[in-house]
């Protein structure tokens, strides 16, 4: 089961990485998707290798976490057209590092990942909802299902909400695993990853279609 979820996860990331090649020459935030997905693929592959080898792999994701936070923040700020905030990228990075250090000292290494994910995903979800609210009130003449930004946001929203739930009910999910041998957490995370990278792949395709049409 573990091998299946790992393989499917890597397939989703690889598919998104390949689709991001379509928008490699795009400007602004679109050009960061390819390097980010490449880092995700390398991290996931190494994490999976360590896991299958029976080696503790949390530190890999702890190192990856600031990259995840910085990239998602940039993407959402760009989509929300917060140009003023985007001018201070180094400030944003510094804030993320400070937040990371604060959580590390406050909760320790064991809770670092869960605390950061719950807090940051909550913020990301709020940003996504702001985007959806603005979209509804600003521009009604577009085809929403062909809008790349919409699919990027939808992917992040579902992933963020799902992640919060998974981390909040981690204890229950572990109990289910121990009593029923059902890896519900892995299945939910697989679904969330599939949705995130699937939405992004479709968004890249829409962006590419916009370019060629």
């Amino acid at each position: 089961m573990a091998l299946l979820t790992i393989s499917l996860n890597l397939i989703f990331v690889t598919a998104a990485l390949l689709f991001s090649l379509l928008i490699l020459k795009e400007r602004q935030v679109w050009k960061i998707f390819f390097p980010y997905l490449l880092i995700v693929l390398l991290t996931e592959s190494y994490g999976a290798y360590l896991r299958l080898s029976g080696i503790f792999n949390s530190y890999v994701y702890n190192i990856f976490m600031p990259i995840y936070l910085y990239t998602f923040s940039l993407i959402l700020l760009y989509i929300l057209k917060a140009q003023k905030l985007l001018r201070y990228k180094y400030l944003l990075l510094s804030c993320i590092v400070l937040f990371y250090v604060f959580i590390f000292y406050r909760f320790g290494i064991s809770k670092l990942l869960s605390e950061i994910l719950v807090t940051s995903n909550f913020i990301f979800s709020i940003l996504c909802l702001i985007y959806l609210y603005r979209l509804m009130s600003d521009n009604l003449s577009i085809n929403i299902l062909k809008l790349p930004e919409f699919w990027i946001v939808v992917g992040i929203l579902v992933y963020s909400f799902g992640s919060i739930t998974v981390w909040l009910f981690m204890g229950l999910l572990n109990t289910i695993y121990q009593t029923m041998q059902l890896p519900l957490r892995q299945i939910i995370m697989l679904f969330l990853n599939g949705f995130l990278y699937g939405s992004w792949s479709y968004a890249f395709l829409c962006k590419y279609q916009q370019k060629i049409s």
Binding site: V154, F161, I188
Partner: protein, 239 residues
């Protein structure tokens, strides 16, 4: 929880599409309204032009040709300088040329708003009943012809109301295009004024017609007047 979010997104897309459909229908209705107003404006301008032509033919050309005929009749009995007769016929011919120009459908399209107002001013100056002042602020602007036709018709109606009913001695029109995005036209007279609310209810002065036309241009029109205090009309429309 994730399924709830997915459900939320599906509902969001459905709601968005419903609102989009309604928005497009409204837009389509506005477009239809614009074309209707344009057609009405064109017809009314045409009607106005025919009335003016009929008046011009009767008052000027007819009179000049009658005079020339009379002079020719008299020339049979006594010597009259032919130069005078030729002068009258030339003036009549000039007037006829002007009339023929105004019969051309594209005649009005060649004018800018200011030139159109200048034409009205020239006509009114001849009557010496009203001091018509035109002021232009800002650089030259371009206005799409359908928009211009509707705007001209509104101005024509407003000026006609003032000339017919206001008993004003001063009429001032200001065209302000200085913002580059919005055209502001102000019409002010020192006439007898009127009760705006009553006039809007009765629509005797065609206020609601003007309102509809300006709305079809995505613009606004505001009437400010009180009995014996003159009238101010403020029009704004996107360029």
């Amino acid at each position: 929880m994730s399924l709830v979010v997915v459900g939320f997104i599906i509902s969001y897309v459905r709601l968005f599409n419903t609102r989009k459909k309604r928005h497009l229908e409204e837009k389509e209705q506005m477009k239809e309204n614009f074309h209707l107003q344009l057609l009405h404006s064109k017809l009314e301008i045409q009607e106005q032009t025919f009335t003016e032509i009929s008046k011009e033919l009767h008052d000027n050309v007819g009179q000049l040709l009658s005079l020339a005929s009379l002079q020719l009749g008299m020339a049979q009995n006594q010597p009259i300088p032919l130069e005078k007769i030729k002068q009258n016929i030339d003036t009549a011919l000039g007037d006829l040329r002007n009339i023929s120009k105004s019969l051309n459908g594209e005649y009005i399209q060649q004018f800018s708003i200011a030139e159109f107002l200048q034409n009205i001013k020239n006509q009114l100056d001849g009557t010496e009943t009203i001091d018509f002042q035109i002021e232009q602020i800002g650089e030259r602007y371009t206005l799409a012809i359908p928009k211009k036709i509707i705007l001209i018709r509104v101005l024509q109606e407003a000026i006609q109301n003032i000339v017919k009913h206001a008993r004003a001695s001063l009429l001032r029109v200001t065209i302000d295009s200085s913002s580059g995005q919005i055209l502001k036209i102000t019409i002010i007279d020192n006439g007898v004024g009127f009760d705006v609310k009553k006039a809007e209810l009765r629509n005797g002065l065609g206020l609601s017609n003007m309102q509809k036309r300006i709305e079809s241009l995505n613009g606004t029109i505001d009437f400010r007047s009180r009995p014996s205090e003159g009238t101010q009309i403020f029009i704004t429309t996107p360029l």
